[in-house]
Amino acid sequence: MIEVEHDGSASGREPQPAPAPRVDQVVARFARVAPPYAREAHLYRDLGIESVQVLNLLFALEAEFALSLDDQRFIRATTIGDLSRLVGVER
């Protein structure tokens, strides 16, 4: 697809994917796989998050969504969908 830019020149840019959801953006800082992530993506098995990074993931989510998460509920969250529900961003 050829896009016409504001100055009238043409460029061969591909259409940009929609920005990854905020949860994906936070998780991406710790994952070995780039976003976007499927709702069912397992944080450890599929995305390669190491257990020692989990506390920092918890802090990062709390900072991004300006909330305080329950430790036990966070520990039980193992997928992107679980995390999204936890921070109140259903997807």
Binding site: S51, V52, Q53, V54, L55, N56, L58, F59, D71, I75
Partner: protein, 408 residues
């Protein structure tokens, strides 16, 4: 956070120093400088650091600065995470009602033990008999009850094996290195000559030991993973071994039998797929509870974490607790002290990946271990039952008598 105190002490007050964080900070503060001879926690939120009277003003200022930084680094990212208690058992109140230091003094006076150096003791026949009776029971636990086969490992381990195991990155403060004189005849002769003349050990600069490539093992299970490195396991396996283990704790912190530099550990190490390891850990937990009952001990088995070094403490501790990867058997002594004398550890596939140990399907093995500190078990046993064998549980006395007969 503040620091104050007299010339020979430093006081650090910070609310977070209550509980677990204070305990870890108390252990690590010993590494803030050679002048630190004692660390006390008289009240929650307060650390009192005693300095050698010969400590210079500059050294004192450096220790104070480093302890404040240590506490700040430990507290950064620290997030309490209460864990579950697997079981609790209450027996009679501790017979002696004294802590590790006073109990050690009593044992030394009674001829049960003799201090040979920091964290190193020689033991008399009664302490040895008690340790062997406990270990005989542990061998039955490992062999007859869990099905482990007996192994023996050397009292040396390659530093590279500890590196692969992640020990050097998690517990650098505890590593004990082994070295030897350089392979140069002139250096060895200088060393010999200097020591033949001197009235005590001397180390001439020109005979400085080689950079170490071996260590003394801090746990038995690392030997097992070293042994399995690069192999493929067709089925789950369970082994048990006893060995001398070494964890350096700073000279000022090794004052009694509760905190030894070198000690005896019996471990049961299980490797295989996840269901096999989970089942082995569950069976080990049941056997541990049965052991506590048989020894008639007051005890609590609860979630715990290892004393990771400063900058990895918060993340690794939290991950260990969140995954409930460590359950610790804590035994009360007296004076409000408890001693961690055994632990059940879940490694998941960490050592399988680190040592390239695979299952037949190519996946890294899962592993776990149950470890027992023999001197600590004996010390807590004595704290709770006293030194008079007539008050001890019958099974322990019978085992000691059996061993004594066998030795005649």
């Amino acid at each position: 956070m503040s620091a104050a105190g007299g010339i020979h002490s430093i006081r650090v007050a910070r609310a977070e120093l209550d509980g677990e964080l204070g305990e870890v900070a108390g252990k690590l503060a010993y590494f803030a400088g050679a002048g630190v001879v004692g660390v006390r926690r008289p009240t929650p939120g307060l650390l009192e650091i005693d300095l050698d009277p010969g400590t210079s003003a500059e050294a004192r200022a450096a220790i104070e600065r480093d302890v404040l930084a240590l506490v700040a680094r430990l507290a950064a990212g620290y997030r309490p995470l209460p864990g579950r208690t697997l079981f609790e058992r209450r027996a009679a109140a501790p017979a002696l009602g004294i802590g590790a230091e006073a109990l050690t003094t009593r044992l030394v006076e009674a001829g049960w033990a003799r201090r040979q150096g920091p964290g190193a003791y020689a033991f008399g026949p009664r302490f040895v008999a008690l340790v062997e009776a406990i270990d005989a029971r542990l061998r039955r636990l490992a062999g007859a009850a869990l099905g482990a086969t007996e192994r023996a490992f050397p009292p040396l381990i390659e530093a590279d094996a500890l590196h692969r195991a992640g020990y050097l990155a998690s517990f650098p403060q505890s590593v004990t290195f082994v070295s030897h004189l350089p392979a140069r005849l002139d250096a060895i002769e200088r060393f010999r000559e200097a020591n033949a003349r001197a009235d005590r050990f001397v180390l001439p600069a020109e005979a400085a030991p080689e950079a170490p490539v071996e260590c003394l093992p801090p746990a038995v299970c690392y030997h097992r993973f070293r042994e399995l490195a690069g192999s493929t396991l067709d089925a789950g396996s369970m082994i048990t071994a006893r060995g001398a283990c070494f964890r350096y704790e700073a000279r000022g912190n090794m004052r009694d039998l509760g905190r030894l530099w070198c000690f005896q550990m019996r471990e049961v190490v299980y490797t295989g797929d996840e269901p096999f390891v989970r089942d082995a850990a569950a069976r080990a937990a049941r056997e541990l509870e049965a052991l506590v009952a048989e020894l008639d001990l007051t005890a609590s088995c609860e979630a715990a974490a290892d004393p990771f070094f400063v900058d990895v403490f918060a993340e690794k501790r939290w991950a260990q607790r969140a995954g409930e990867r460590k359950l610790e058997l804590r035994l009360p002594l007296g004076e409000g002290e408890t001693l961690a004398a055994a632990s059940i550890n879940a490694h998941e596939d960490f050592f399988g990946r680190a040592f390239a140990v695979r299952r037949a399907d190519g996946a890294p093995i899962t592993s776990g271990c149950t470890a027992f500190g023999l001197e600590r078990l004996a010390l807590a046993f004595l704290a709770q039952h006293g030194l008079d064998e007539r008050g001890w549980p019958g099974g322990v006395v019978a085992s000691m008598e059996q061993r004594a007969h066998a030795g005649r």
